[in-house]
Subunit: 352 residues, 2 copies
Amino acid sequence: MADRQAEGRGEVERASARPATILDVAARAGVSKSVVSRVLTQAPGVAAATRERVLHAAGELGYVPNTMAQAMVARRTGALGAFVRDASTPFYGHLLTLMQDRAAELGYRVVTATGSGRFSVADERRALDVMTGLRVEGLVICSGLLPERDVEEVAAKVPTVVAGRPLVSDACGSVFCDEAGGGRGVAEHVHALGHRRVAVLVHSPDLSLTLSPRSRAAADHLTELGADVVRLPVHDFWRTTHEDVDAVVAAALDAGATALVLPSDRLALRALEALRVRGLEAPGDLSVTGYDGFGELASPFLGLTTWRQPLPTIARMAVDSLVGLVQGRVDGRGATALAGELVVGRTASTPA
Amino acid sequence: MADRQAEGRGEVERASARPATILDVAARAGVSKSVVSRVLTQAPGVAAATRERVLHAAGELGYVPNTMAQAMVARRTGALGAFVRDASTPFYGHLLTLMQDRAAELGYRVVTATGSGRFSVADERRALDVMTGLRVEGLVICSGLLPERDVEEVAAKVPTVVAGRPLVSDACGSVFCDEAGGGRGVAEHVHALGHRRVAVLVHSPDLSLTLSPRSRAAADHLTELGADVVRLPVHDFWRTTHEDVDAVVAAALDAGATALVLPSDRLALRALEALRVRGLEAPGDLSVTGYDGFGELASPFLGLTTWRQPLPTIARMAVDSLVGLVQGRVDGRGATALAGELVVGRTASTPA
DNA sequence: TTGTATGCGTTATCAC
DNA sequence: GTGATAACGCATACAA
């Protein structure tokens, strides 16, 4: 039904009709394409009457310039690339939105790519090729998985800033949180509350470049402060299940810990759930701390004691320093470590 | 510092160096650009030895084809556009990721645009122009704000599917949840629990095309079932603050309601918080229900009684029917209403 | 098997 | 003021 018979002017045309080009507009306005181009680029030297005709014709045709053709001749795309590991992860989702806003303020579009949610490094490399194929002028990489070697390789091709992951390299800039500082901050708070036997969920470095240092720092600092530390390892970061967390909680309780330190709010929420299922609660039976401090889990209803990462600042600094790099105004390839802040909630208190 | 003096082969070259073109590869391999093109497009008719040389040269130069140039000659971009109102909203964030995955499976890239987080319809129109300028082959619109007129206008230019918002038009396809059905489902559950005096937060239609019908349906159906319904209006959807929700909770309690029905999990969480601040709790003092049922707020720890939207199905169907439209295989312009399901949690129970 | 020529839609540099 | 014309980087029909 609805065959291609709509050629009338006023009707709704088929979406399949090829988009109007500058030539169509020119023909309709009875001028050459040069004039159309001048009108649309606000260039001077066009008679007012002609301009009106061109504008009118463009409007009627619903003409929108082909961005790619523009980019080809302009030799610039006005686009920044954002490569995020998984946009559905709240951390990356928020980061993405914030970066997009800032980039728009600076006159850049943002095109994003993801490793398609899978775990393969090869996938991530291909995603990077997509970005360079699009000729983005700069690239923000938000992935804790991609090997440093690959980052430097792509950084050789296009100005690159790594966000949310500790990386010190003179090939690119980086903006990230002081993970060790955050871990110590949490440790200090827990110790100050009076806990002397503390369980800490510790990630191994090969699982996560962020969770690992923060959890290690927390454990180390608690030890320095003189507390007994029970280090609970985790096997697979991306698939840490409720059962895994449940086992961690059980281990913490078995070990007689009065507090459990977790490297993310998401894990903390699961720990709270595990406690609840056991008929226990935080902080009465076990003090619980998280890490992140943004989004839904930062709700005062949950009252999670956590460490807040300065997400807006990360996003802004990443984009700003990338744009600086792109425009060659600044060297912008240093590493910037940002401090977070303690959020005192109700899930951690003095030990019973 | 670090002036442009790095011309050495093995060194890390300046990122500012212009990306290699097919001509560079051709020159380095000692062939014409046609041969390079054939090798890279897997076209037959190239001597094995030549192919090797070309591949080697391309590898050395780190050559990545310019996607835009390819698109220009191919007259297709292989890209779908996703226009989302606010990617930091969990609903849209999840939707985006799911759509991206499905599109990748079907061989399409997804380029996203947002209304820059602001409220202006003009901004949204400009964002749509960005998409059409990029010559996306199809467009998924996820915005409850954009007027139907604008949707149909863009749908005349490019195949369009509206996702997550009720819209019946023969200009485009649409996939959305049966909002009224969901509202009735919640109402039925609350009534079945025994509540006979229920407060319902009701949005006016001009604030949200989704929250409004679901909240109205809930209120209407409760009335039909014979319950006393206290309709609490809300003034500004996007800025509904904790204070607003607090006032709603207060009003519900004042009116002697035993249950409070809210049109989103986010609002429900705020209601729970408002209760907690008052030293009250759900469901003891007031039963509370939400709506959405995905992401962090679906955690069993919160135990929210809610209505789950089939987000993955929405995403999949939206992309599938859009691709069908793009490829002209199906008409794909019908409206598809998806059913959700009740999630029985612990925040709603029989009245005290 | 390989090289040459043309065109995709646009901007910019020329002449007129 | 306006109109040809040359790029931009690539794929492809066609000639060698």
